[in-house]
Amino acid sequence: MLPVAYYVGLSAILFIIGVVGVLTRRNAIIIFMSIELMLNSANLAFVAFARVHEAISGQIFVFFVMAVAAAEVAVGLALIVAIFHTKHSINVDNISSLKG
């Protein structure tokens, strides 16, 4: 059996990559996908701990996270499409009218 720390470490690395992706890219969809990556890494941590503690509620939680992620993606992408209709661009730097 692998120590659970390995899985948690992997989860952390994926999470960091996701964070850097959110902060670095200008493309709104790429940012969104980076967020999905972060969620995914959290799911991995959940499952790892569920396996260690023999608690099935960890996996239940992952189930719910996936459902919420799906809903969130639906709404988010609808938003991006709506913004694209107005601004004709998915560059998040263009959406800065709250400046100042």
Binding site: L23, D93, S96, K99, G100
Partner: protein
């Protein structure tokens, strides 16, 4: 004497005492409130009735006193009650006060009746008929105030009346307040009277303060009872009190040095001169000394001073009267002189003689003044007649405005035109000169007899004054009624109406018969006054004194006749320019001018007292009050300092400091805000970055803990 035996225990009317004040007050109130609707006769009738009713009350009080000679105190109302100070208005009805009441109301009523006719002409001559009512209101007010004065039972109420008659004097002297020299001459004379009286009142007040301090009371009976023991402990207090009272007497009764108001008071209408300044108000001083007799006899030095003041004044005023040309001024100085007689009498201790002379003097001096008024109006009527007759107008060409109806040099020979006035004037003159058997002889002679016994120096002063009195009265009668008329109005003078002459006739009768009051063998008046002034004694008849005074009077009259009748005729031959207006001028020369100018006393007072006082007042008002106090202190120091202070507060502190704090806070906020707003880049990525920064930091902190 037997009157009191017959009526002893007789009817008592003491309770009527307050009505002697109330009747005149009611009269004046009716005239004030309703007078504008009445015509002149009704106004005069109301006033005279009020005065007459007061006289009736006085008579009834007198009748009561016959049965109950010790008199009674009739309290009316408690006025002041503060600790020891008890000021009560109560009437002390005794023989002394009833004597005064009878004199004042009796003569007063006659003068009221006289004024009905006199003022009718006077207001028309002076051009304002609307003032008729005011005159009678003031006359009634005077009677009321005089009754308060003589009827009170304590010095406090006496002073109330004292001040009240002073006020009435002022009001009546200044009756024609817009006439006189330069349009304010009468007002100035009234003011002079009031202020000079006030100096006397100041003396009276000081006496009252000392009295309260020594006796703790103002009541006559209490003070007189305690007087001997206080005199033993503190004789200085009694002396000071009596001397200050003397100051009050010199003010009110026109003695030296405060007599100067009386001659100027002739600016008032003639009835005023008769009533107030001859018969009644001026005698208040004599009454005061007589009333305070029990105090005066304890201090012989004060008595000597009183007698001296009276004697010197008598002589002094008589000399001035020799050289006066205004008919009323002569009578004014004569009044001062006769008051000197009275004051000297009560000063020496001859209280009965003084009061007797007071009563007879009231009769004949009032008579003389009223007759003088009749003469003046006769001349005015003549003047009016001449002015309006085209044939006679040319006679007074050029002297219309300056014509003085009171100047004796414009009169002469009036005995033909004004017969009744002449006869009564003659009676008055003889009474004043002291020719027996008229009233003046008996009263003046009693004074002289007492003076010979008590105070010889005063006796000689008074005798010389009596000689001069007869002389100047003879001069007056000769200048006015005898000889030829010296001016056109005098030629055409007319007699006065009956309403004027009838009071004159009554007064003349009183002057003839008044001596019966106290003939030396009956001493009616002495016994009457004995009940109040218990220590008086009956004066003896001194034939030598009587003979000397009568002889001097006759000599004086003959001398006057010689100078003013014979010599005057002789002087007629001189051309007009060199002819002196008075034969005495050629005899006495510069002395006559001195007498004519009243020894320049008024001018001396003006220079020594009034001018420095006005200068001081002006200095205090202009320099001290306005320039220093108001301009400098208030404006510069207080207001300026305040303004400086407010400017400091407003500019330095409020604007400079407090506003600066507010502005500074605002500036900081703005600076802070503008810097903070840089955080709001509008880029979502930066917001996310900041979250990450926070996470990193927190994680680091948790790890390193």
């Amino acid at each position: 004497m037997f009157l009191s035996e017959a009526v002893s225990g007789g009817p008592q009317f003491f309770y009527l005492a307050p009505w002697i004040v109330f009747f005149p007050v009611i009269g004046l109130l009716i005239n004030i409130i309703f007078g504008s609707r009445f015509n002149e006769k009704v106004i005069g009738a109301i006033a005279s009735t009020a005065s007459g009713l007061a006289f009736v009350v006085a008579v009834l009080l007198g009748v009561s006193l016959i049965g109950h000679p010790e008199g009674e105190i009739v309290p009316l109302v408690d006025w002041i009650t503060i600790g020891l100070l008890q000021g009560r208005w109560a009437f002390q009805v005794d023989t002394l006060s009833v004597t005064m009441m009878l004199t004042v109301t009796g003569v007063g009523t006659l003068i009221h009746i006289y004024s009905i006719g006199y003022m009718h002409d006077d207001v028309r001559h002076n051009g304002d008929p609307g003032r008729y009512r005011r005159f009678f209101v003031f006359l009634n007010l005077f009677i009321a105030m005089m009754m308060i004065l003589v009827g009170s039972d304590n010095y406090l109420m006496l002073f109330v009346g004292w001040e009240g008659v002073g006020l009435c004097s002022f009001l009546l002297i200044g009756f024609w307040y817009d006439k006189g020299k330069d349009g304010i001459g009468n007002a100035i004379a009234a003011k002079k009277a009031f202020i000079t009286n006030r100096i006397g009142d100041f003396g009276f007040l000081l006496a009252a303060f000392i009295m309260f301090w020594a006796f703790r009371s103002f009541n006559f009976q209490e003070v007189f009872a305690k007087a001997p023991e206080v005199a033993a402990i503190a004789p200085g207090a009694i002396l000071a009190m009596t001397l200050f009272m003397l100051l009050g007497v010199t003010g009110k009764s026109a003695q030296l040095p405060l007599y100067v108001w009386l001659p100027d008071a002739m600016a008032g209408p003639t009835p005023v001169s008769a009533l107030i300044h001859a018969a009644t108000m001026v005698t208040a001083g004599v009454y005061l000394v007589a009333r305070s007799a029990e105090i005066y006899i304890l201090v012989p030095q004060a008595q000597m001073w009183v007698a001296l003041v009276g004697g010197i004044t008598a002589l002094f005023a008589a000399t001035i009267a020799l050289a006066q040309f205004d008919i009323k001024k002569v009578l004014a100085y004569s009044t001062i002189s006769q008051l000197g007689f009275m004051v000297a009498a009560v000063g020496m201790g001859a209280f009965v003689a003084g009061m007797f002379h007071l009563v007879t003097h009231a009769f004949f001096k009032a008579l003389l003044f009223l007759s003088a008024g009749s003469v003046i109006q006769g001349i005015e009527r003549g003047h009016h007649h001449v002015e309006h007759d085209p044939k006679l107008r040319k006679l007074i060409k050029g002297q219309a405005h300056d014509f003085d109806p009171q100047d004796m040099r414009n009169m002469g020979g009036l005995r033909r035109q004004m017969k009744i006035t002449f006869i009564v004037y003659m009676i008055g003159t003889l009474a004043l000169a002291g020719i027996p058997p008229l009233a003046g002889f008996w009263s003046k002679d009693e004074i002289l007899a007492e003076a010979k016994l008590l105070n010889p120096s005063v006796y000689w002063l008074l005798t010389i004054a009596a000689f001069l009195t007869a002389f100047y009265m003879g001069r007056q009668i000769l200048m006015v009624f005898f000889g030829k008329a010296r001016s056109a109005p005098a030629e055409h003078a007319q007699e006065s109406p009956l309403v004027v002459t009838i009071p004159l006739m009554i007064l003349a009768a009183l002057s003839l018969l008044g001596g019966a009051l106290n003939l030396p063998w009956f001493h009616t008046f002495t016994h009457w006054l004995e009940h109040t002034l218990t220590f008086v004694h009956a004066g003896e008849f001194n034939l030598a004194v009587a003979g000397l005074s009568t002889g001097l009077a006759i000599v004086a009259i003959i001398l006057a006749w010689l100078i003013y009748s014979r010599r005057y005729e002789a002087l007629k031959d001189l051309p007009t320019a060199k002819r002196p207006d008075d034969p005495m001028r050629s005899y006495l020369g510069p002395v006559f001018s001195l007498l004519e100018n009243k020894y320049y006393v008024d001018e001396i007072y003006q220079a020594l007292i009034l001018k420095p006082y006005s200068a001081l007042a002006r200095f205090l008002a202009q320099v001290v009050d306005w320039q220093f106090w108001h301009d400098w202190f208030h404006d510069t120091v207080i207001a300026g300092g305040f303004r400086l202070f407010t400017r400091l507060l407003a500019v330095r502190i409020d604007l400079g400091f407090i506003d600066a704090i507010g502005n500074y806070l605002g500036a900081i906020t703005r600076g802070l805000a503008s810097r903070m707003s840089l955080l709001q880049t509008g880029y979502v990525r930066t917001y996310a970055l900041s979250i990450l920064v926070g996470v990193v930091l927190m994680l680091g902190y948790l790890l390193l803990r």
